[in-house]
Symmetry: C2
């Protein structure tokens, strides 16, 4: 079983590494970071670089596709090399997944038409414009497509997928091994829970970074 995690310039690191840390523990899985060209790929802060060990051409038919998001997503919406690869990989994948604004890339590739899907809470409107049916849930499964909400939700998505692929007991073992018993020191992780002033502040800021 081959798991391909897509990288592109200015991705958000946790979008990729969160699900990676869960999915890499599927027995027999081979995980590969893939980009248009192999080599280092810088994140949205330019202070972290993950290496894409393979280029798109070397990974034509992964079993699981994971697409992270991040500020660099908007520049990829017209990147036909990436969109073509997503369509090709999806044609034979068992699961096609995304975290955060990665779902906008799946939608731009035409893969989420009429499907229930999610994204970062600030990007749900964008998802609708590309033909998907946005929901506010944290992890949304529609057929073989699993989309997750913002940044940190990829961990929940990854663990959910481990359960689907390797069974509930193995997923629980992964949860225990990674001590995934979250205890956030605040309770402001969604627009429903955060103070309204903070929601408004991020919404105002997002007009300039999301498309």
């Amino acid at each position: 079983m081959q798991i391909a995690i897509v990288l592109f310039d200015r991705f958000t690191a946790l979008d990729a590494v969160g699900p990676y840390e869960m999915l890499c523990r599927i027995p027999g899985a081979e995980t590969v970071f893939v980009a248009q060209q192999p080599g280092p790929v810088r994140n949205d802060r330019d202070d972290l670089a993950l290496i894409a060990d393979k280029g798109f051409e070397e990974v034509p038919a992964p079993d699981i596709v994971v697409v992270p998001g991040g500020p660099g997503q908007s520049a990829q919406m017209d990147n036909e090399a990436l969109l073509d690869w997503l369509r090709t990989a999806d044609a034979t994948s068992t699961w096609t997944t995304s975290v955060c604004t990665g779902s906008l890339l799946l939608a731009a590739a035409g893969l989420l038409n009429g499907r229930r899907a999610t994204s970062h809470w600030l990007a749900l409107d964008g998802l609708a414009r590309f033909g998907a049916e946005p929901t506010g849930e944290r992890v949304v499964t529609d057929g073989k497509f699993i989309t997750a909400a913002g940044v940190s939700s990829g961990i929940d998505m990854g663990l959910t997928l481990v359960g689907r692929v390797a069974g509930d007991e193995h997923a629980q073992t992964v949860q225990l091994g990674t001590e995934y018993d979250p205890q956030p020191p605040y309770d402001a992780g969604s627009p429903q829970k955060a103070p309204a002033a903070l929601v408004d502040k991020l919404r105002a800021r997002s007009r300039f970074i999301l498309r």
Copy 2:
């Protein structure tokens, strides 16, 4: 404010990237991945590489130190170059922190003598052998030392530290921006919550990987 995240061969990726994704959002912070030698550093599965942009010598006095863990930690327990760097960095740091078995490295460097600290639940005994006072809490603050439990707990540690450094409101903004509203699909993330058989299985396996 400079934040140094230490990398070493066979680290666990989420140990480093979880706190990174929170801490990098501290206003004015410069985050740098640092290793004995600059260049790519492979993780515990050998299928992920993060680039250390700087070597130890180039980052002598960070304000915040973050030490991840992972299976490669045991090989670092005798690495005087790393232990010396930890002692030097700690001499002037404002905060010295760890995730997972990273606390064993802080302890081996002599920094946790008599201090309350935590680690991966399978490594708490080891922490006691190196002079710290282990607790089962997820995030433990003792003076300027903040240690976190296994792998995923670095996110809680990072967000806690964002609050200490940049205030509660900014930390809540970071939580909202990263949509950190965890909803694990299982409730097996600690030895207290997981089925006993799974706890026993991981404990038996750990005899061979932890020191």
